[in-house]
């Protein structure tokens, strides 16, 4: 499974990196940065990644695959 980010939509609520710091990081501005960009997520992070995706108020994140 992969996680996708739409940079255009992210405005830096920071719910993702607060909930799943192993999967998401923040840039200077506090916008989301993927730790596994275009890579499959390690199995152990899949659940917490899904939870973060479900908490992004901008619909900037999605799970894929």
């Amino acid at each position: 499974m992969k996680v996708r980010l739409d940079d255009e939509l992210c405005v830096g609520h920071g719910r993702c990196y607060a909930l799943a710091p192993d999967v998401f990081d923040a840039d200077d501005q506090g916008h989301c940065v993927l730790r596994f960009d275009d890579e499959d997520l390690p199995e152990r992070f899949v659940d917490v990644a899904k939870q973060a995706v479900a908490n992004c108020p901008e619909d900037a994140l999605a799970m894929e695959g």
Binding site: V11, G12, H13, A18, A26, D28, Q29, D59
Partner: protein
């Protein structure tokens, strides 16, 4: 209890969100708005003020600045220019946020946690031995102000002066419109003069606080102007104090009346970050944000014209079962999906949201560690103010 749903009048598609009944218990009001008139007119106001209430519509309004613009000086709140970034639209808006956000990001503020914890403890020290307090006056009011002073490197002794300014601007003690405007203008002038001094001092002695950092910040290849700096200080006071106060009031009033939830937090403090989000959702202390219609737009059969105003009801979006499910009206400290809009959304997402979250989390942690058991004093009548839901007096008794 008087039912706030009575403030919605579907027969003439009108509603009044600014009543104390709604502020105290807004959920029935919100539900009726969403169900029976998703675009309502403001009761008693001239035509052209539209209340938007469903989650999807609220989100649409927040994201579409080309239709729902922030580019207006909404009311005379004592400032000279549009407030940056609140009253600026994209794309210009992004130039400011790009340089402002880094100073208020979660990572940048992490160092403030120890300070915040110390301040919360000091505030609690002042009343804990009494076994009771007015939580609003003794905790929720001073705390955000003290955190602001510490963030800006101003003396904590300025607390009272700040509290007075803030009240003069947000709730001038008069019902006379002209008098209120005069109080705001005078207070605005006093505040600007105070911050002029603060900025001069910083220019002279390079200190490291948020004002000094903003002074070194470039926007579009130039330093922020003095006017922009002053406006920013003004906006922090306007947007960063009462909002946190209201969130603390609403959250603690809820927990005082729901001992099961409170006990969960005492037993497992790791739930607190989630509780902060869930209480923000359920209470949505900033009930609404305002926009001005920039382009003709039709929503649920209602025509909106350029120049019309939109009251974008964050609180009703945040309790919409369409988004949050059948238990949208209940606090669930274990809620899995919580895309609440208590800090707004889209480009104007609250610049202070990470600071607010830090304050709220630390406050709930320290309070429940030191005062695990509290309730509302018998006979107390909680009066919530509309718009930003502060509670005028919140008497608590500790067990």
């Amino acid at each position: 209890m008087i039912d706030s749903a009575a403030e919605v009048h579907p027969e003439d598609r009108a509603a009044n969100p600014y009543s104390s009944v709604v502020a105290a218990h807004p959920q029935p009001f919100y539900a009726r708005l969403r169900d029976e008139c998703p675009v309502a007119a403001m009761e008693g106001m001239p035509e052209g003020v539209h209340i938007i209430s469903r989650y999807e519509d609220v989100k649409f309004a927040l994201k579409h600045h080309e239709i729902f613009s922030s580019d207006f000086v909404a009311v005379d709140i004592g400032q000279d220019r549009p407030l940056i970034p609140l009253q600026i639209d994209p794309p210009e808006h992004a130039h400011y946020r790009r340089v402002m956000d880094p100073h208020l990001s979660a990572k940048e503020l992490a160092h403030l946690e120890a300070d915040a914890r110390r301040l919360v403890n000091e505030v609690v020290d002042r009343f804990i031995d009494r076994g009771e307090c007015d939580f609003h006056a003794e905790f929720s009011m001073p705390l955000p102000c003290l955190v602001f002073l510490s963030l800006t490197g101003l003396p904590l002794g300025e607390l009272d002066r700040f509290l007075t300014w803030k009240d003069n601007i947000i709730r001038p003690e008069t019902f006379d419109m002209d008098e209120a405007a005069a109080i705001r203008r005078q207070t605005g002038a006093d505040m600007y003069a105070f911050f002029e001094d603060a900025i001069d001092q910083r220019a002279a002695n390079g200190t490291d606080d948020i004002i000094s950092r903003f002074m070194k910040t470039e926007v579009d290849g130039r330093l922020m102007s003095r006017d922009e700096m002053l406006d920013l200080c003004y906006l922090f006071i306007l947007g960063g104090l009462d909002t946190v106060t209201a969130t603390l009031d609403c959250s603690i009033a809820y927990l005082a009346q729901h001992p099961d939830h409170r006990r969960e937090l005492v037993d497992d403090p790791s739930l607190i970050p989630n509780a902060v989000e869930e209480l923000l959702r359920m209470q949505t202390p900033v009930m609404q944000v305002l926009r001005v219609v920039a382009r003709p737009h039709r929503m649920h059969g209602v025509e909106m014209k350029p120049g019309d105003h939109a009251v974008v009801m964050l609180g009703s979006a945040d309790t919409d079962p369409g988004e949050f499910g059948a238990d949208a009206d209940l606090v669930n400290l274990h809620r899995e999906a919580n895309r609440h809009l208590a800090f707004g959304g889209g480009p104007h997402r609250c610049l202070g949201s990470h600071l607010a979250r830090l304050e709220l989390r630390v406050a709930l942690e320290v309070l429940h560690e030191r005062i695990p058991d509290y309730r509302i004093a018998a006979g107390a009548d909680l009066e919530y103010s509309p718009g930003i839901r502060e509670i005028k007096s919140l008497p608590l008794v500790f067990a």
